[in-house]
Amino acid sequence: MSSAEVTRAPFDPAVLFKTAFLAVVAIFVLVPLLATLLGGFKSLGELRVNPFGWPTHWEWQNYADILFSARYWQLLRNSLIISTLTVILTLITASMAAFTFAHVKFYGSSMLLSYLTLGLLFPAATAVLPLFIKVRDLGLLDTYFGVALPQVAFSLAMSVLLLRRFFRDIPHELLEAALVDGCSYIKFFRYVTLPLSRPILATVGTITFVNSWNAYLLPLVMLNTDALYPWPLGIMIYQGEYSSEWHLILAFITLTILPTIILFLLAQKHIVAGLTAGAVKG
């Protein structure tokens, strides 16, 4: 293949192929997203004849109606409450456990850690019926905690592993010196480990947040009251009600994925690092 050798020639077929290939994939990814965004600005009639193009007449009303509805904000509020609860509880419980596994030697330490990592082996769905019955017996059915606590439990395995790997890089000598000087483990954790670990806490927090924000199955099983529904449940019901009024549904979809996209643009470093973290050897 001689063309591969001439890498910087102006009419290199390899470069041409590469550009064309990337363009095709970019269109494949972008078109559904843009059509959704723009579709929300069209009337139903226009959507039918012109689903791809620019709206000839911009229907701001579709978006405005949703933005001024209590329903939309209630869905976001519920999602925000559940996700925040999940993130806070995950960070607290996982960082405490990870600290113990990283810096405190005790009998059975590696066994307990292996026990926790069993959580990575199977999806939450396998035991969701018994989980439902347990949550019901605990009186947590139809509460935010009934969704958040199982989510915390399922995010623990990955979170503890990521945090522990980071905590282990904090020199053990530092801890020993502090202990000799009369500092306790707990104070060391609070005033040294945690402040030094902000990047990994942000990463773990972001992945947990995104997973909880997008979750569908657990809230679907645990919640029965519309007023408590997070947005993935709410949007499915919305779609059921407006079945073929696609212009409204598209506007609703756009407004519910907007927070995710904004978060992604703000915290892309943490999101990419966190979600591909499994790939890096530890």
């Binding site: 293949m1 990814v29 689903p51 456990a97 113990t100 810096h103 199977f122 035991a127 053990h172 483990y185």
Partner: protein
């Protein structure tokens, strides 16, 4: 640590000095305060339900009162006699096949293109990764619009050629194919990012050495870069298979597993037949089968393909 391995973490040691520790009291306090919250939550909401699923799967039970109607292994027999179960299993197999045959080569090709620095490379990486962070529910709804026979993008393309627009999601012949395309759309960017991360941590001098020794670009790629990526390829395959076994959210807005169960995955089959009808025993049996598949797969895969990692 990478993934899923209870074996991976065992055997590591905390520095010796910790064994002596300054005082047992101090360590005892941490152990008592710091471990129980995580262990308790994990045991209560992850481990116990699996055990209970095995127990409940022996009953014919609708979830109310206590389970009393013990029917032994009948639920498993009922599951295995259901045609929809085998369809769901086949669909999970199809998802894995498409992941390996389409998604993985696509992700790898894009990673090789985008790992280099050029204008727009970072923007394209982010664009391709974006579908991965969108909620499955939103993705499913977006594509149920794309596929919609009256208003959808596909229908509009069809009509420009003067053909009758198909209802892709409503036909048993095309529903699963439509779902598979969405799966590739949503997940290829994640696998691409795995490969980009791996490519960026590769030892560049190996590739340069090969080039100096006279290897062409494609030879260097085939004989140096790809072999160096094998661990990441194995990991990507692992994620693709685990992801297929968990897939649910995406299917619901698209087809709910239909029509006629033609696009169910294992989890949507579990939802449609166990959870939504509160057939606790039957649903638990499906759950246990899925659990056994996942665990068996994870351990075998680790043992066969990921021994060195």
């Amino acid at each position: 640590m990478a993934i899923a391995s209870p074996m991976g973490v065992a055997g590591e040691t905390v520095p010796q000095a910790a064994v002596r520790g300054p005082s047992w009291d101090g360590r005892f306090t941490v152990l008592i305060l710091f471990l129980p919250p995580a262990l308790l939550l994990f045991t209560l909401f992850v481990v116990l339900p699996i055990g209970e699923a095995a127990w409940y799967s022996g009953f014919n039970w609708n979830g109310f009162g206590r389970p009393t109607n013990w029917i032994g292994f009948d639920n498993y027999r009922f599951v295995l006699e259901t045609r929809a179960f085998w369809l769901a299993l086949r669909n999970n197999g199809l998802i894995i096949a498409v992941s390996l045959a389409v998604q993985l080569p696509l992700a790898l090709t894009l990673a090789l293109m985008l790992a280099e620095r050029f204008r727009g490379a970072v923007a394209l990486r982010m664009l391709f990764f974006m579908p991965y962070i969108l909620a499955e529910i939103a993705t499913g709804l977006i594509f149920s619009f794309v596929y919609d026979g009256d208003y959808g993008l596909v229908a509009s393309i069809w009509r420009t050629f003067g053909a009758e627009a198909p209802h892709l999601l409503a036909s048993t012949d095309t529903a699963m194919l439509a779902v598979l395309i969405v799966i590739v759309w949503k997940y290829f960017g994640f696998h691409m990012m795995l490969f980009i991360a791996a490519l960026q941590s590769l030892d560049k001098s190996l590739i340069e050495a090969a080039r100096i020794d006279g290897a062409t670009r494609s030879q260097a790629l085939r004989h140096v870069v790809i072999p160096l990526l094998y661990p990441t390829i194995r990991l990507s395959v692992f994620f693709a298979i685990v992801g297929s076994l968990q897939l649910f959210d995406l299917v619901m807005p698209l087809t709910r597993g239909g029509p006629a169960d033609s696009s169910n995955t294992m989890v949507s089959f579990l939802y449609n037949n166990g959870i939504s009808r509160m057939r606790v025993g039957y649903g638990s049996a499906i759950g246990v089968i899925l659990f056994v598949i996942c665990v068996t797969f994870a351990f075998t895969y680790k043992r066969w393909f990921m021994r060195d990692e």
